[in-house]
Symmetry: C2
Subunit: 639 residues, 2 copies
């Protein structure tokens, strides 16, 4: 067994293999030392607690409560619900400077947007402004994201407008329509808060990233086209300043689109451009009285802050259930947007965000909103990006914005009377164009074709059919993907990578050699009722393929089937049954079934179900290499 | 590097480790040789085809059609639809002997059962017999299971009876009730055939084994109690032969229950006991005229074979949609039972069964059945077991049974007039008791507690609420489990098993040692949108745990995070995003992210998404051992 006198590298490799060989032939001793570990039996309650904990409290929300006095726990509890109490203690002037600048910036952006979005939802302009006053305040007290900018957003406004108009005609029955909108907002809030409290936040993960990209893009196109129609309407009428506006538009367009993506120092250009163009165009319309020459203007906006709307919510009757349904859908979509924004910025600034707590905050804000004449508010993509770039530090920027909005409601709204609708359309278009994420779509195309179908399905569904259908397509395709995942797990045949004891997928490593007489199959998923039959049949099919090939090549007949179980993290009764059936089928063909590296849960279940005894405990190995060593002591001689 | 002179085993282990070490320190050269394999780029169409094929044609149904002439393909196609054409060519007298014995046996068992089951479905007795005539014939021509016994079954009869009575009162509106039953049967058949043709057979896998055990048990108890009420009803009336019947019952009971499970030569005792007790009791009732003394009898059964019912199916109106809904539910439940039986016996006799083809056969038989006055038929557990034990060879046993039933309908039905209902109740009880699978329930309890909840949920749902609710509970719990599976995949930290280069779960192998400064985490599932956030956060949580522990023990700070990706078979855009976020979070903590053994699909996507370049291609290793070797060249020195 001497390995001296050979050149360095080869020498090492050679020795390794020789040892591997000798070592393997001494298999028995080795297996006694490294039997597959059986974890200590947990008691039932513990097991259950662990499952529940991992399912609903994966983020250990109570981590900080451990080992604290009762009073401290109470304080921590209150702080958990109102994070403002904990961060306000370290608040300082420097932070306030960042917040006031960013607050003013997003306020200047949100005011014209709000007026436009309210129209998307078929509501009067002031309701958009109302929704930028109360909800941001509530969020500032309860929310934990530092960068999100709260208020009405384009997609939710469009969705709400579409769903509500399906029930009530917004022009004929203004009052009922508005009441249904508040009802929907109320239930949107309830839905959000409930998901958060029940810690079911992971449900929104079922809308895949690809589906959201498609849905958002489709909604943006729909909104843009809708606005463009109004915008181009000017042309047919006499309007002298047309070209000016178009050029202003173009610049707003371009800067807003690009500005939102890069962290440059001119972020404020796209941010305040809308307000400036509103001011300018309003001024021009006012002095030229263009409204008398066919230019649509916003018209009088009611002055003053939000009236109460508690008594306007439908708590009974036919509209209750309708409002509930619309609220659930709008609430979920709003959540998706807010959580995505929250997560993005939390990662950028590296702070933790509790998704479930966020949902409670968003829910509470919409419930309160629904009682103060607001419609569904959430985190806005465009304004949050501007907020971040303007250097916001805490949710105080939302408070600043909220105050500016109140001042606007009191003093400035009358001035908006002469604002041309065309300019609002342009502002909305420039805001929603940013939602079309070409780059993401291209990346999705590159990475995952199935995702791309989901993305395009949602996109075309929204554009050509309707927002609801687009959303439905997005959710359905997402679910189909999950279905495929759980019913059709991947399997692979393994081969030995030359000069190692490592066994890998033969498709990925064509140089990996198969062991004559041994078929090694890896199952790449937990074996559950949803896939147990498939897994069994797939393994048998690998065997048939192998047998056919072996027959053609006059090779050794397959005598051993090694199932590599490393990725099989769990198995249920159906899975055990499938293994038993596999074992019996193999017995008929006089092929030995051997398992390699079952995990802790699996090994436990193999023993309790007696399957380990059925196939023989000595047929379960720690590694594929050990299993192969057991199968054919001759194997090592012809690699 | 000499290893001579040491005792044998130790010597080998020692050498191995030394080599491992030297080998690892020579890591660079090694990595050049064994880079992680990137599989050749497939074109888009191929990729799609492969996915679709694996999802819907996993069993390669067209395997036999390859490389055949057109005529041969046509013949094979026809044979695929009508398997009788292929097996009848090798049919012989020996097989026929087996089939005739088993056919007669199941006929003797099915006749009294049919009469009883028809009553469960609130239909006249002859409809049960009708359903044992046409469907078995159709199945014999189109089906491919050799052991299944087709006809009405207890659970489906009960389910159908319950669902139909919810819509129409069976006593007040007999004709409408019957028409709705045929409508439901028609749509049950359409559902089954559609699932088969669209190759969506895997959908029935979503009813987990545990849920079925619970549901069946609950249905059995419900049926038994229902029958017992009628059965005990005798007591209050004067009936002299009471004790006799009870004793007959008891024996039937016990033998049927045990006989169905063991392959002994007295299988025919429970099989023909029902018919004998029917004959005996009918005879006693007839001679004593006990019906005049308060014993309920079956009464006159209409003579002759199935009348046509094509014109009775509701193809329009309100009942169309009701019939459709009931049909879909009953069809799915019937499928579950038939497929489970088919699979069990196919495994026992080692022949292949194409689930989707079976569904088409079952669907066709129910569609034809609905037009010939039959209600939903499927494979019966009790009769199939008897069929198997009586030595059936092919579906000819079903034909034999069918002929016997026809003869019965023509000549013997008048004799059933005096059969006491009590004896039918007892026969039903004895048949359904076999559906209560205590052993399976105990095994489920042992293996998987979550499965046990599903089982009990379905069981108590059926027993205490209703069949539909029980079914709903079973399906919901099954889905909840899938949800949990896809949203909360397991993760584990790995450690090095002493004296090997194998890294395993530290929970399962407490002796596995962690490498100071290195945290190794394995993700046990494909990373998709449904779990990408969880996976990211879970990995970060492992890191926090590790950091806290390290801080407490004054150990080396974590500098490297190795993610073992062997079980990660796929990743989508959300997954890539999660990895990017993970990478960024780690960068902030100056921890290096290293990947070990990504699979073919994953490595491809890591490259196309540019993530491989982001973290550095040299940070992706073939094995954890290689990755560890890269991380800390010093590691090998202190194991």
């Amino acid at each position: 067994m001497s390995s001296m006198g050979l050149p360095a590298t080869e020498n090492l490799l050679e020795t390794k293999e020789i040892n591997e060989r000798s070592f393997s032939s001494d298999g028995k001793a080795h297996h006694h030392i490294y039997k597959v570990g059986i974890p200590p039996k947990q008691n039932l309650f513990k097991e259950f607690k662990a499952t529940i904990k991992e399912a609903f409290f994966a983020d250990e929300p109570l981590r900080h409560f451990k080992d604290q006095t009762k009073l401290r726990k109470l304080v921590l509890g209150i702080e958990a619900i109102f994070p403002i109490l904990s961060w306000c203690r370290t608040y300082n002037l420097k932070k306030f400077r960042g917040d006031i600048i960013s607050g003013l910036t997003i306020a200047s952006l949100c005011i014209p947007q709000d007026i436009g979005y309210a129209k998307l939802a078929n509501l009067d302009p002031q309701y958009g402004l109302y929704s930028s006053f109360v909800p941001p305040l509530i969020y500032a007290i309860m929310g934990s994201s530092r960068d999100i900018a709260i208020g009405p957003v384009a997609v939710v406004s469009l969705l709400l407008g579409t769903l509500l108009s399906d029930e009530i005609d917004p022009t004929k029955h203004r009052e009922e329509y508005r009441r249904l909108a508040f009802t929907a907002t109320f239930f949107a809030g309830i839905t959000q808060a409930t998901l958060g409290i029940c810690r079911l936040g992971f449900l929104i993960d079922f809308l895949s990233h690809a589906a959201i990209v498609g849905f958002m893009g489709g909604a943006a196109i729909t909104i843009a086209l809708q606005q463009l129609k109004g915008f181009l309407g000017i042309k047919t009428k006499k309007f002298t300043k047309k070209t000016d506006i178009v050029s202003v538009m173009k610049s707003v367009f371009n800067t807003a689109h690009h500005g939102g993506k890069k962290n440059n120092k001119y972020f404020w250009v796209p941010a305040i451009a809308p307000l400036i163009s509103v001011v300018l165009s309003t001024f021009f319309v006012f002095i030229t009285r263009a409204d008398k020459h066919g230019v649509d203007i916003v018209g009088l906006i009611e002055r003053g802050i939000n009236p109460s709307s508690v008594d306007k919510i439908y708590f009974s009757g036919d509209y209750l259930s309708k409002g509930f349904k619309i609220g659930v859908v709008a609430g979920m979509v709003a959540l998706t947007e807010a959580v995505a924004i929250g997560r993005t910025f939390a990662t950028m600034k590296d702070y933790q965000l509790d998704g479930n707590k966020e949902m409670v905050a968003l829910g509470a804000m919409n419930v309160v909103g629904s009682m103060t004449s607001c419609y569904v508010a959430t985190g806005s993509f465009s304004r949050s990006a501007v907020n971040f770039m303007a250097g916001c530090q805490t949710a105080v920027s939302n408070i600043v914005m909220s105050i500016v909005v109140v001042l606007t409601l009191f003093f400035i709204t009358p001035l908006f009377q002469y604002t041309p609708n065309a300019i609002l359309a342009a502002i909305i278009i420039s805001a929603v164009i940013g939602l079309i994420d070409f780059e993401a779509a291209i990346l999705i195309w590159k990475i995952d074709k199935f995702d791309f179908i989901a993305c395009m399905g949602a996109f075309f569904g929204v554009v050509f059919i309707s927002v609801e259908i687009g959303l439905l397509i997005a959710v359905s395709i997402s679910f189909a993907k999950i279905l495929l995942q759980v019913t059709r797990p991947r399997t692979a045949t393994l081969g030995k990578i030359p000069r190692t004891s490592v066994y890998r997928n033969t498709q990925q490593y064509p140089e990996a050699t198969k062991i004559p007489g041994v078929l090694i199959v890896r199952v790449d998923s937990a074996i559950y009722f949803s896939n147990s039959n498939y897994v069994k049949e797939r393994i048998l099919r690998w065997l048939i393929d192998e047998e056919e090939q072996v027959k053609g090549d006059y090779q050794t007949k397959v005598q051993f089937l090694i199932v590599e179980m490393s990725p099989v993290t769990d198995i249920d009764t159906s899975g055990i049954h499938a293994l038993e059936e596999l074992y019996r089928s193999l017995q008929k063909k006089s092929i030995e079934l051997i398992l390699a590296n079952p995990g802790p849960v699996v090994i436990d279940k193999l023993y309790t179900s007696n399957f380990a005894n059925l196939i023989g405990e000595d047929k379960i190995f720690l590694t594929v290499a050990d299993a192969v060593a057991y199968c054919s002591p001759k194997m090592a001689e012809d690699p």
